[in-house]
């Protein structure tokens, strides 16, 4: 297990390094942050002083070296916009994004997977057809539009839920559903086709034949095998949620990392952009490793490193 993990970790560090470098190059190409910020009547001297203070005069390679040294120490410089350390800006909003992603992920698990199982078991029934229809529509619906639709129905028309912001549980409901929409639809379709594949196996017939209860066959024998294929997909879904939350956070004015990155890009606040993108990259890498590991745990047949 450990022997399998070490190359994966090294590879992941390399990936994060590549992303960090891309982000560095990218954020320097966006445009001159000083120009975007200084008042129209700012003097040449004060602009120069600001450049000096932010180290924008140093050669690119020196800036890059400073940047990498900073990454290791979680020091990314101050936000150009708020003058606060960029890491603090992101850290302060990280929890609300994680909260939103987790709420959406739970929805995907408790809605997508069980409905997929039900649709597979009752193949061709009315619930199956309905579930497939909803999943098809869910996969074709852009999440910003789903969000606006939900706002219109539940906030504007019915007045049951707030249109945006964060605070109470009610604020979380619509953004979480919006973020979960596409993932739940995919999870449902994949669970269904995975279950159908498994259900056609001989050992399922054997399990039925030896008189096991239908519920035991479905849950113990079929679902466990179908879940194997699902873990990877659910892992990717979980990783995508954090990035997908950019749009949802913008639609619902949810004060998270996604909205911060979105705002920082238009403000050219590159220290904040760098931290935000790196945080999401690290999140991706961690999820990918966890998916790998869970695969080994769940499926004894491919347990790597034990041989």
């Amino acid at each position: 297990m450990i022997a399998h993990l070490i190359p994966r970790l090294l590879q992941s560090i390399a990936v994060v390094f590549v992303v960090a470098s891309l982000v560095f190059v990218g954020s320097r190409l966006i445009g001159d942050p000083i120009k975007a910020f200084s008042a129209r009547n700012a003097t040449e001297e004060s602009i120069e002083a600001a450049r000096e203070r932010l180290g924008l005069h140093d050669p690119m390679i020196v800036q890059y070296g400073n940047f990498l040294a900073g990454v290791v120490q979680l020091d990314f410089g101050d936000s150009i916009h708020t003058q606060q350390p960029a890491w603090n800006e992101v850290r302060g909003r990280l929890w609300s994004t994680v909260q939103l992603s987790m709420a959406a992920f739970v929805l995907i698990l408790v809605i997508g997977v069980p409905i997929g199982v039900l649709a597979a078991v009752r193949r061709g029934s009315v619930p199956d057809l309905l579930a497939r229809l909803v999943a098809l529509v869910g996969q074709a619906m852009p999440n910003f539009w789903l969000g606006l639709l939900l706002i219109f129905i539940f906030a504007v028309r019915l007045g049951w839920l707030p249109t945006g912001g964060r605070g109470s549980f009610e604020n979380l409901i619509l953004p979480a559903i919006t973020l979960a929409g596409f993932g739940a639809a995919s999870a449902m379709r994949l669970t269904r086709s995975g279950m159908l594949d498994v259900l056609s196996n001989d050992y399922i017939r054997t399990a039925h034949a030896k008189g096991l209860a239908g519920r035991t066959v479905i849950l113990r024998h079929a679902l466990r095998n179908a879940l194997l294929g699902l873990v990877t997909v659910l892992g990717i879904t979980l990783a995508q949620l954090l990035a997908g939350s950019i749009i949802v956070e913008v639609v619902f004015a949810w004060p998270g990392v996604g909205r911060l990155i979105f705002r920082s890009i238009s403000l050219r606040d590159f220290p904040v952009i760098q931290v935000g993108v790196l945080v999401i990259a690290v999140w991706f890498v961690v999820i990918n490793i966890l998916v790998d590991l869970s695969y080994n745990v769940l499926d004894p047949r491919i347990r790597v490193g034990s041989s």
Partner: protein
């Protein structure tokens, strides 16, 4: 054994069998297929002939007639079938013009990523070696990272414009083609018809383009069809965030974003473009599913 080298019995598989251009019978599920084809037809015709279909200039502002009601409302008229937006621009004309934008993006980004990904996949699968491992690492990195985030970053770097959206989409969509084609080439390269073609001295280029490519074409076409909805939604999302098409281009995603502030009083300003995006994406997915079932019986899922 003939002295010529090629045994008649062994040469059954020189090339994949030819397919008929038109099937003898109507395909399975043809009524639904007809619906898909009609939607696709309307989409393409509206996109190509947008400038002739629109009754009004989609950029024409008319502040006197802003927020006009659509035709089915008491105040509505056929003059502006779907009403006008906050600047008095005709919603119907903007939708049609937006169709053109979507069509341009689909007609460039999908062939672009398809050709790039297929070429890389063919080379990687056939030549193996360093090129293979390098390109496959790149594919892994690309598939593992949040496309939208990077698209947003790139769009912010290069500035919003239709051309940049297309470039971004190509950069993000080539990887699945490369992986798919490589996997198929790896299983094909040991087959007899490839061996036979090599034996009679076919060059690498000829092998790849005349023997391997035709065998993977079905899978590529299916993937491309299923990519239509991804491209539509990605372009709309970027444009919604203001990182998509430039200010001079009309796009469905941008229309949704423009209608956002008027959500309370004029829901249809976001509703029309939203539903349009959904219908096109839905039909793209359904048609892709149908195509997969029709072209690739082995892959047929009971879905």
């Amino acid at each position: 054994m003939s002295a010529g080298g090629v045994d008649a019995a062994g040469a059954v598989e020189f090339a994949p069998p030819r397919r008929r251009l038109l099937p003898r019978r109507l395909p399975r599920g043809w009524p639904l297929l007809l619906v898909y084809l009609i939607v696709v037809g309307v989409f393409i015709v509206a996109g190509i002939f947008a400038d002739w279909i629109t009754l009004h200039d989609p950029t024409d502002q008319n502040l006197v007639n802003r927020l006009a009601d659509p035709v089915w409302q008491a105040e509505g008229s056929w003059e502006h079938v779907f009403g006008t937006d906050g600047l008095g621009r005709d919603t119907f004309s903007r939708l049609i013009k937006g169709t053109q934008t979507s069509l341009i993006v689909i007609a460039t980004a999908i062939p672009g990523s398809l050709v790039l990904g297929t070429a890389i996949g063919l080379l990687a699968g056939w030549r193996r070696g360093l090129f293979d491992s390098l390109s496959m690492r790149l594919v892994e990195v690309q598939l593992a990272f949040p496309a939208l985030l990077f698209a947003l970053l790139i769009a912010a770097m290069l500035g919003p414009s239709l051309r940049n959206v297309i470039v971004i989409l190509i950069v993000f969509l080539w990887a699945p083609y490369a992986r798919l084609v490589r996997a198929e080439v790896l299983s094909l390269r040991e087959r007899e018809f490839i061996l036979a073609a090599r034996t009679i001295g076919a060059s690498d280029f000829r092998l790849m383009t005349r023997h391997l490519l035709p065998s993977v074409v079905n899978s590529i076409v299916i993937l491309a069809t299923l990519n239509v909805s991804i491209v539509i939604i990605a372009e709309a999302s970027l444009s919604f965030l203001g990182a998509g098409v430039g200010p001079e281009t009309i796009s469905w995603g941008k229309m949704v974003s423009e209608g956002r502030d008027l959500l309370k009083i004029r829901f249809w300003l976001t509703g029309f473009p939203g539903i349009t995006i959904m219908i096109v994406a839905l039909v793209g997915n359904l048609f892709g599913d149908w195509l997969r079932d029709a072209l690739d019986p082995q892959l047929r899922r009971r879905a």
